[in-house]
């Protein structure tokens, strides 16, 4: 049975803030694709940015994930709309890949086409976890059963021994 999620936002909570309080709900700073490209080109051309990108790529974060995060952050900051960010995604990916190549980093683009025969890592992990749990449960149940049976045998033999009351005959 699926567990209930209690940390979800309360319906309508996004409407409780004042109008225009969040950057997302104001007009974007860069309204066209051209303006947004200029912004990213300027931003990504800095040494600071390229060093940060290099660090992230070296950690093994795929370029697709990095671009998704960057564009989502920019939308939340009110820099541009989601439409503009969607159109820019491939360009941003190429720019980040170019930075990776310039820094001679072996990065993961994250665009490998899904192979229907391939089993994902997450599925393998889930199966391993289930197997471990089953083994653990079966081991525990056998470990629990054996002492109970032994104890019952002991109890019966003790009862037989103790059954010699005043009126009873010894066996």
């Amino acid at each position: 049975m699926p567990e209930a999620i209690y940390d979800a936002p309360i319906p309508g909570s996004s409407l409780t803030k004042e109008v225009g309080a969040s950057a997302l709900k104001n007009p974007p700073r860069y309204t066209t694709v051209d303006e947004a490209i200029e912004f990213y080109v300027q931003r990504m051309s800095t040494e600071e940015f390229s060093e940060q990108v290099a660090d992230v790529l070296e950690m093994g974060v795929p370029v697709t994930s990095l671009v998704n995060i960057i564009q989502m952050h920019s939308v939340m900051e009110g820099l541009h709309t989601i439409d503009v960010s969607i159109m820019l995604m491939p360009i941003l990916m190429e720019m980040i890949a170019l930075i990776g190549d310039m820094q001679n980093i072996e990065y993961d683009m994250g665009v490998e086409r899904d192979d229907p025969e391939r089993i994902s890592d997450a599925m393998v992990q889930t199966a391993t976890r289930k197997l471990k749990r089953t083994q653990f449960d079966s081991r525990n149940s056998t470990a629990m059963e054996e002492p109970i049976v032994d104890e019952m045998i002991e109890d019966v033999s003790m009862a037989n021994e103790m059954s010699g009351g005043l009126m009873s005959r010894g066996l």
């Binding site: 051209d34 697709t64 159109m87 491939p90 360009i91 720019m95």
Partner: protein, 68 residues
């Protein structure tokens, strides 16, 4: 269902790249080479051009490194 918009669009742009002509008018902006945008250019064409140029830049870097 897990959707990755960046991946989907990147594959789309890659496919579009196969039928494209090389871009002639370019400018350098920071690290990146960009096509020069004319006012009447179509936005998608401009994006495809820029994508192609960035890809060319990567190829050049890879070739230069392999020739070292």
């Amino acid at each position: 269902m897990n959707v990755n918009p960046a991946k989907t669009l990147y594959i789309k742009f890659q496919e579009e790249l196969k039928n494209r002509q090389p871009v002639e008018t370019t400018k350098n902006n920071g690290f990146f080479k960009q096509p020069v945008r004319e006012k009447d250019d179509d936005t998608m064409q401009y994006l495809y051009d820029m994508f192609a140029m960035l890809r060319e830049g990567r190829e050049e870097i890879k070739n230069a490194r392999s020739n070292l």
